[in-house]
Subunit: 225 residues, 2 copies
């Protein structure tokens, strides 16, 4: 995630301005709030990807606000503060702050720390699964289910099925399948394919004689639907 929605909660207009410009010139979208109340409202109506939170707010202590945020907000929160007291830093970090920067801070460092926490926060786990009727192929777990029952597949069977399923609807030629699964030296071994396609159909099709998932394209290859 390169560009993020960032909420700045700080009561000093100059700081907000400064931060705003620095962040926007780096492609981020910025929302500003001057008080704890405003900040909470802004965050709950449009949850940002990251919050920059000043500890010194007029209406509520930053620590208390941080705790309230952490009851529901799990994205990064970076604390900005003029206080360099160890107590404050420890309290903030233990209350779930992602980082703590002491004012005055250097813009470059702030931006680097923002990149750092954003990078860490977005290990976008692509829960990729492929469904086709009662068949479910879970690419993360490396598991295949039919009617919610796990089907045992060998390594080669799974690779073949996954390759076909990832290219749902497309015809994959014998050559291509053999090259991908067995390696470039096996492009002539069409019989391997017949054997393994038959195995797969026996395991995943309701009626292996009338396959609905793995279709034969005679003389060309196979297609997954």
């Amino acid at each position: 995630m390169n560009k993020a929605n960032i909420l700045i909660i700080d009561d000093e207009p100059q700081i907000r301005k400064l931060l705003s410009i620095a962040l926007q010139s780096n492609g981020h979208r910025v929302t500003e709030a001057a008080t704890a109340k405003e900040g909470m409202i802004a965050a709950s109506s449009h949850p940002p990807d990251l919050i920059l939170l000043d500890l010194a707010l007029p209406d509520e202590s930053g620590h208390s606000l941080l705790k309230r945020f952490r009851e529901w907000y799990s994205h990064p929160i970076i604390i900005l503060s003029v206080l360099n007291s160890e107590q404050d830093i420890i309290a903030a970090l233990d209350n779930g702050a992602s980082d703590y920067l002491t004012k005055p801070f250097r813009t470059g460092e702030l931006l680097a720390r923002i990149r750092s926490v954003l990078r860490r926060a977005s290990p976008s786990q692509d829960q990729q699964e492929i469904r086709s009727g009662s068949l479910l192929i879970d690419l993360v777990q490396r598991a295949v289910k039919k009617n919610n029952e796990t089907i045992k597949l060998t390594a080669t069977e799974y690779s073949l099925l996954a390759l076909l399923a990832k290219n749902e609807g497309c015809v994959l030629t014998h050559q291509y399948l053999l090259k991908e699964i067995w390696g470039p030296g096996f492009v002539k071994e069409s019989q391997y394919l017949r054997v393994f396609i038959a195995q797969l159909r026996k395991k995943i099709e309701e009626d292996p004689n009338r396959p609905v998932h793995i279709l034969t394209e005679s003389g060309v290859g196979y297609r997954f639907l």
Copy 2:
């Protein structure tokens, strides 16, 4: 994870001593290394949960070492440095450092930042125990119980079981398991896995010949259910 295995890489013995005492008195286990080479070897043979890395090492720049770690090591790395240069901070964070502390630092703050990155690193925040049938794995106490009776596991056995259990349902490949438990130099040692899986099954399965918790995916890896 409250107690972590922490590797300190720093060439100054006094600093290592100081850190060691502070960390150990907080329940962590500590390994020390005085050079980049030593550090890399220590991390490769027994991957720690966190690395404290000094930027100034006699045999290799800390930045270069950080990059080499990040090629395979995904746990937190906190940089310690006397340098307060913005360039260094930005470079370190962009190279994958989890945090950057300037010496001299306050022990309390360091501990808080360690807690912070460890909390972030283990997405099992709320998942402190894993249940599967009569089996209970307590990730906080590092204990495993079957039918309410504690099972004695060695350190390696526990690490392996915990890693599998944290990824319940997913197939973990031999390569991945070996890299995480033994280090990147052991990815070829599949026999280690077979031996330890057999040990685990003897201890946690009702019938080791018909395992229900640790399943074999022939040619691929193992899966915990």
